[in-house]
């Protein structure tokens, strides 16, 4: 389980209706929060793209047209080493990708000019860790991005 105290009290929470038109609002929020938390410009670009891809999938495959908001929070972890960005949404079904796509299979797919299937790979590649969990009817995707790139 992600440390749920990180999603509480001392951080801002954005909630958006599950519409593609809200992706820009979500990205801007992640950008401004991760800047405030001291992420580098490159890391901000990577995290905001990862969040966009994860949220695009949530909207596309899980909740589009449903009335429930997707919420997003960004906080620094307890030891001050990483930004933890959490997406939380209500959905009738759990979701955890069976296996994270590998770089080779993505390159093969792109090389064969097959459309789609890039989102989950990007999410996992652009951040340092991704955790999926479900509590009641809510799914949570937690993306962790280290403040100091290795």
């Amino acid at each position: 389980m992600p440390k749920s105290r990180n999603a509480s009290g001392h951080s801002a929470t954005l909630s958006v209706p599950p519409e593609f038109g809200m992706l820009i609002t979500l990205r801007e929020f992640v950008r401004s929060e991760s800047k405030r938390c001291g992420l580098s410009a490159a890391a901000i670009d990577q995290l905001s793209l990862a969040v966009d891809e994860a949220a695009t999938n949530i909207i596309e495959h899980a909740v589009r047209g449903m009335p429930h908001a997707i919420t997003c929070t960004c906080v620094i972890d307890d030891v001050g080493e990483a930004l933890i960005c959490t997406l939380d949404y209500e959905s009738p079904m759990a979701f955890t990708p069976e296996a994270t796509p590998k770089s080779d299979s993505i390159r093969a797919r792109v090389g064969a000019m097959q459309r789609g299937g890039l989102g989950v790979y990007l999410v996992h590649t652009l951040v340092d860790s991704v955790e999926y969990s479900r509590e009641g009817r809510r799914n949570r995707i937690v993306l962790t991005k280290r403040l100091n790139e290795p």
């Binding site: 593609f20 820009i24 966009d52 891809e53 695009t56 390159r107 792109v110 000019m113 990007l122």
Partner: protein, 122 residues
């Protein structure tokens, strides 16, 4: 609800003076919300107008997600089937990074400037 900003993404054709070459300029943020506009625009050019020497000028594009990349993927084979190509020109570094991560340079001609893309077609 009138909550659309007119300015967040745009795609338009720009005159090159070179017959047979179509230059398309992208600007703003290309995501799952704006990708359908981009797709309709390109489909009209490729399917209805049967143009096949395309240069996409990325210079003013600020953001791209896989939804935008999917549009390119969806049309590249069709363009090549008409003996044409779709060249990607003037990519900002952070946009090149995303394409590079996914192996796009293997499939797409990525060219530093629009001028060079035109020369390659001529």
């Amino acid at each position: 609800m009138a909550t659309e900003s007119p300015a967040r993404f745009s795609v338009r054709e720009v005159e090159t003076g070179e017959p047979g070459i179509t230059l398309i300029e992208l600007a703003g943020e290309l995501d799952a919300h704006t990708a359908p506009d981009f797709e309709h625009f390109l489909e009209r050019i490729v399917r209805e107008e049967k143009r096949s020497k395309l240069i996409l000028d990325f210079h003013n594009l600020e953001y791209i997600s896989s939804a935008g990349l999917g549009v390119l993927m969806g049309l590249i084979e069709e363009v090549r089937a008409h003996s044409g190509d779709m060249k990607l020109a003037a990519l900002p570094e952070k946009i090149f990074h995303v394409l590079d991560l996914l192996g796009f340079p293997v499939v797409f001609q990525i060219v530093p400037t629009v001028r060079e893309a035109i020369q390659q077609f001529s």
